[in-house]
Subunit: 672 residues, 3 copies
């Protein structure tokens, strides 16, 4: 089946809007909504995500009238609709009639209806009902003029990334049969000779349910792979119905590509998405939320293979699910939105249009807050709508980067499994430490999957890639030989795809490339920190490393490994291969990054940018160049740049743009 | 059925005694008990609370002989008995025969016999057995001359406030049918349009069992209401049997009105209690246990609608269920007991008479400790008996207060639910901060329910009353207009009885009264604290507030809301309405309290009281006035007061009473 | 059945080797293994521990060929084999066919196959299968010349010390019938009059499954006793099969006698063991792992009744199951191994020979690490083999001690139960504080059971022995009267075997001996610490103590008990009885230890030992005397000693032995 046009049909410029749940409100409020949406220049809304129990109040009885009216009203107002399959939460009648569709925890607790997403994604019964509803919805609205995009389910796997039900067990066994063919291949891959775990047939296998101690690590990893795939299989099935009924309408679902959501391998979904869409929420306790946001946006672009993507949800201000939900400060809502656009989003959408009065998310901010339109939040919503409209020329342009950061969900799962040298390893934290140093220098980064083509990148970062295939290791080595500066950090290259350790010395798959060999890991204790020869320190991790071709860059000057190398560098082919065998203090880490960028001749987006100013450039197919400038500080500043400002600033006088405190400007640079 | 006399039949003066479990001891020990009870002037004992398995060792076979002997022996010694229904813990044979009576956790784990209270209160099977035993006991002892009071079950809901069993599900649905009539009314109240939660019939509804994420908040709230009511329904059923058999004997059960017990709405039980009884235990880690004790006693009086109440349990020294169980220090046992009496208790009773040698509570202190009568604890038991006897004239007198603190269990549940702006909100902690400031100033406080008549109070405190009905909000506003100084603190008036947010700006129901409007909550982070204009600070909470009629009292002088009001005051009618929009530091809070008291002309119990001395006055129907003076310090001091001291001091010379370290004195003041 | 020779048949000198799991490796690797084992002088390997699923891949179908080859190959290399029953982890087919053999948690969660040890030890079905396999293995290899020792199952109870399944319930009831005979005896012992827990028949009793609150403490204790016994019963059954088939081959299983493994009463297993074997792993976060190791080794010797024992497992470097797994530092592997030998081990064995590439323990160190033979770890393995060989003369010699520390698993369970004065009591921590003070002074200690013969000990330490029988208390008193200095510490002698409190004053069973009486426990708060009269402090615990014959040694000089005794001493018969009623600061504790040793005339192993040097002496039946000297510091030092050094040093010149940093020396002293 051919893939349709990858963009919400009929939406011009950048899409602007959010989730819209009119079923929670009276007609009077819905009429006010239309008026306020016009003020805010909303042009796209996600509708019907949690409408199953209203659309099908009893099995086989449908009520579409209210939704007809909503769509007609929106169409009349010129607003287009990302219409949901409405399958995100099965209604009570379905869960009561078929309790076997409930997902089950690792301890065997079935999760009830009463919140949301109480379904086992592998349940054939659930899937039949979900497909049935999807077809009903698709057939009902196939010709509705407001229909712009299909929104499948919602945040697939958000609350139940792993289901241990009997349905899951059956599907897992089938998945294993397809992966391994013969059970002896599985036994070899899982290393079942260990702890008497040999299986005589696939029928003997279960999900990694609660057990006396550590479960087989490859069983865990395969179950994580299966669980991610099971969500994808469900997505595909729903999408196929939609494509069949409306071949011309694109389909997507909202991913959760953030530092906290770990269990879906979004890179493996890329080929199935007409357009990649992401939900992103900052974390109140994060001291640098703008860095995590930028990483998430760059990751979204990576999953979209560089194409423009949709920001499907973010928040105007506080969320309601963190321990203490901070409101967004001055200018923060605009900076958040526009940083996503700067990094490739062609939409700015929120959860949700109007803040709920009832239900579990009523303390989550929205475009129209509890306080109503007479509020700073709604005034900013209107101002943002004005700016989004002004960014229409940006649509379709792309972001270029000289630096690639190799990121792998499967290795993430493997690196934080149990029974490891240090249980406090955070894959994402390690990646963000290196990413953050580049962000502060305004070096644009592509976050790419392990199977990415690395050609053309001047610098390739490989943070803590514990599990790596021979093929990926080869491509990384090829990048170095081809001229790139490659940096690998500790606990990389340790295992193959089956989580078997690569023998002979660490870091296994990268040992030859890097020219080092470690005999033993040397995890440091809580608070343990040792001196390096530059006066800096390393913490958390060390290794008993010998040089086998590399030169030392940083050497331990204290601790049990004093005199051994901590950071190394090896010229290889036309490039270099660096190894960081510890967690460096911030200055030492930045020093390594500086050396890498210098030797690779990588330049920031603009020269002489003031500290605290984020800059990203998008370039159109026609060569149009747009630089986004975000001031994350409370002080006004100036940026040297030529061109014309899009938010009303017009032509920039004397190549100096004033950037007020907390503000964002977008400059269209002269074509080259 | 008419309510009987609200006091243990035949007990004169203040009741003194405790739980008595003679079945744990030999006859010889029981005979020694009688002798020691005489020494201690014990006049009332709770008997038979956990005797089911001895009274009915096999289904339908009863053994009352041992209990006959106990009651006869006590009667012979002139001691009266609060006789239990013995239903507090079903015997093993019952739980094994009917495992369906076991309570079930939110995760579906049934809770076994082996500790205590292993019953599902909504189980018809359990309730039939409990009613059967109650009738047997009542009929056996209806004419026993020692019978003074019925003690129903024990600490209802203590360990299993919420039961998620199928019995509970059935009863919950019935409760919902009665509350809502039609399921569409429930759908509206619960906001089931959110997250596809619409119910097509009551039969589809379950308790809020484990679910993938936040459960519907109104479902949670209604389940909490139902669970409290289910306990009350059980109480009523047992009580009705007792009233039928012995119409002249009063009935009660021991409440747990402390800062830690949250899940029973005791105010809703008031009308069903012949006399209100409370169990109170201080907490070792509490730096100010005497304040929490006083609050609990004032709350008990509030639940008793101002009438004298019973202190049914407290401890002579350490308990055994806290992490580190502190023994009571010098004079602490007497001060604890007499602070309860000062605040309206007409009994002083302990768990338990004799410290157990076996079982789960053998490390809980008692009137006769493991060490035996040759111990400071028993000597203090005897001294306390002497003092209780001397307080006979106090019986029936009442406490008067100019200050009301509005306290609501239902709002407590609502304010600490999930998905909130700040999950670390503690309703009780907020209430205790304001209560504590008044306690330190010796201002007596009535803790009253939201439906209380507020007329006559000069000051009304409304700490963090998140959920509030229109009616309650109206009565609070009426109090202000009528001349009271009303203080409302942050996160009040936010939702209605269905937990729907009141729209248009916070604090919702109180916005007009207070003359302020907040657009957004602004929860502060862990340790985040900002300056106020008086040099004090606010922490934990802030709001983006505008004045709409109020005057600023305290203004933020730092942080993201600098310049906005933090505390406000609005003259309204003959009174004032104050708003505290943050958690003030102790001095700033005390400053607000001082201003309130001054403008309302509220005076302490006595003038010029030394610091650390607690004073409370009880006044008899005949005008007799008794002032309790408790020295919480290790230094002797003097109190200016006229009258006659009841513990042997006699007439006070020159209007100055010496108050030794750690000691308590009670003064009968001259009639006015 | 007569007990066979208590030593691996055919192993000469000290045994050296480890767990060997060749089924995880190719034939090529196995051939390399043989070569490396020769280099390392390995002479004993544990084989087949987790081989069930390979030996019996389908029910009733056996495959022994691979194991035949392994054993033949080892035999050809002169290496002997501790052959496992292979029952440590049931294969998937067995758990799937008989899910009722799965162990069940206290909350009712069955623990699945997928890790290891997923069996309910009381399940008759499981036990029949395990016995069947054991007989098959025994019959197959009864005549194999490599067979030296039977290794039953593996670390029995490691992950599932308590199983709450229905099988366990049945076996528990049977165990109770045997213990109590009549249910009324159980009711008396359990104190079921408390909380209505009376049982009318044994059939009504269940394991202490999840309940609303604290479960009956004697039920808990008896379940712990039963659970330990259930493992022993299983051991005996397997052992009996092995003795029947091969009466001449000794049988053992690997215990886990460390500070962290609590739930098996190994002392009760002593009589059933042909040889006692222990697994020991240090803990990375322990600042003094060598002290805990020494205690564990002394405990192993105690369980072995003083006879030589086997160190069956320890690690060459890091383990993989702690939060941060520290690698062993310079010389640490050798010091660890040789400290065990110094304290009576006649074997040095590791988990495992070759570090796994797959499975849950692949990051656990081994004799041949991932890095291969070209590694410090393997080089140390070879060096250790050389030293072990040199220690052949030590075999069979014994350790003598003047000090006994009474240690009781059952009291450990009782002392850390719930509902106690302080829930943060750690029995092991209290024992290690006193043990550590003796270790630092190089005083050798026997760790002995409560039923031990104490005659001949000059000092007897009784740390926190909460539960004690009359008989044990008598024997401790007899030791004092006979001339020993006995030290009892707080919370000792409190309960009898049924966990009933001994009335009349604390410390119950020891009150008369010690000449003190405490009316009340006085647990101190977190961080609370009060002054003693020597300027030291006590924390955690205090008691309201009066002297009744004892003299004060330390008196409280602050806090609520100021002036009362904290440490006391009473001359009794020819000895003394000391009481420490608080947790002393380190210096005060060492002061008490010093006084004890001085009055009892106990001397260290050698005089004038440098700080940080550990010394232990083993003495052969022929009077041969071997002193082990371990330098735990990074500085070289000298030890005054006469004799001949066994690791190549030869005759010691001028009575001064040089002890390099981190090193170990063993000196054969001249016979006396």
């Amino acid at each position: 089946m051919p893939s349709p046009n990858p963009w919400p049909a009929g939406v011009t410029g950048i899409a602007y809007g959010g989730d819209y749940n009119p079923e929670q409100w009276s007609t009077q409020v819905q009429l006010e909504d239309i008026e306020l949406m016009r003020q805010a220049k909303v042009n796209l809304l996600s509708v019907g995500i949690f409408s199953w129990s209203l659309l099908e109040p009893r099995e086989g009885e449908y009520d579409f009238q209210w939704l007809d009216e909503v769509l007609d009203r929106l169409h009349a107002a010129g607003i287009r609709v990302a219409l949901a399959t409405a399958t995100a939460s099965p209604p009570a009648w379905l869960v009561r009639k078929h309790p076997e569709i409930r997902p089950v925890t690792v301890d065997g607790v079935p999760l009830e209806q009463g919140s949301r997403q109480s379904y086992a994604v592998s349940s054939p019964v659930f899937r039949a009902y979900a497909l049935g509803l999807t077809r009903k919805v698709a057939e009902r609205y196939r010709d509705h003029p407001a229909l712009a995009l299909w929104h499948v389910d919602n945040e697939l796997g958000c609350h139940v990334p792993h289901d241990y039900s009997d349905s899951a067990a059956t599907a897992f066994r089938q998945w294993l049969r397809e992966r391994y063919g013969r059970v002896e291949a599985l036994n070899a891959a899982w290393g079942t000779a260990f702890w008497s775990q040999r299986y005589d047939s696939f029928d003997e296998i279960l999900p990694p349910r609660a057990a006396p101690t550590f479960v087989n690590p490859t069983q865990q990893l395969d179950f994580a792979r299966f669980s991610s795939d099971a969500l994808l299989v469900h997505y595909r099935a729903l999408r196929d119905v939609l494509r069949e009924v409306t071949p011309e309408i694109p389909t997507t679902t909202n991913f959760m590509m953030t530092s906290r959501t770990k269990w879906v391998d979004y890179f493996s979904w890329s080929d199935d998405m007409d357009v990649v869409a992401n939900d992103h929420y900052t974390v109140a306790s994060d001291p640098h939320p703008q860095i995590e946001l930028a990483f998430s946006a760059d990751l979204s672009r990576g999953v979209a293979s560089g194409a423009p993507w949709m920001l499907m949800e973010h928040s105007t201000s506080a969320v309601n699910w963190q321990p203490r939900n901070r409101a967004k400060g001055e200018g923060e809502m605009l900076r958040n939105s526009l940083s996503h656009v700067a990094r490739g989003a062609d939409s700015v959408m929120f959860f949700q249009w109007r803040q709920s009065a009832a239900g579990a998310e009523r303390f989550h901010s929205a475009m129209v807050p509890h306080a109503g339109p007479d509020s700073d939040v709604f005034r900013t919503t209107v101002e943002l709508g004005r700016r989004v409209e002004a960014l229409a020329p940006v649509r379709g342009s792309r972001v270029h980067a000289d630096v690639a950061l190799v990121f792998d969900y499967v290795s993430w799962w493997a690196s934080e499994s149990d029974g490891h040298p240090s249980q406090s390893l955070s894959y994402m934290e390690e990646a963000l430490r290196w990413y953050g140093a580049l962000w502060r220098r305004n070096i644009t980064v592509d976050v790419v999957p392990p199977h990415a083509d690395l050609e053309g990148y001047k610098v390739v970062l490989v943070p803590t890639l514990k599990l790596v295939s021979d093929d990926t290791a080869d491509r990384i080595a090829t990048a170095a030989r081809g001229g790139a500066s490659v940096l690998v950090t500790f606990f990389s290259g340790i295992t193959d795809e089956n989580e078997h350790v690569r023998l002979g010395g660490y870091p296994g798959a990268f040992r030859e490339l890097l020219g080092v060999r470690s005999e033993e890991f040397w995890p440091l204790g809580e608070g343990e920190r040792h001196l390096l020869d530059n006066g800096g320190t390393g913490e958390f991790w060390a290794e008993k490393t010998s040089l086998e071709g590399a030169e030392p860059v940083r050497t331990w000057a204290g601790g049990p490994l004093s005199g051994r190398p901590a950071v190394t560098r090896r010229p290889v082919g036309d490039g270099t291969a660096w190894y960081a065998g510890t967690r460096l203090d911030a200055d030492s880490l930045d020093g390594v990054v500086g050396s890498l960028l210098q030797e690779a001749a990588v330049e920031p987006v603009l020269a002489d940018l003031p500290e605290g100013v984020e800059a990203v450039r998008r370039v159109g197919a026609d060569g149009a160049r747009f630089v986004f400038l975000l001031n994350h500080t409370g002080d006004g500043t100036q940026v040297k740049i030529e061109g014309s400002e899009l938010f009303g600033g017009g032509a920039i006088a004397e190549g100096v743009l004033a950037l007020p405190p907390h503000e964002v400007r977008v400059v269209r640079e002269p074509n080259i």
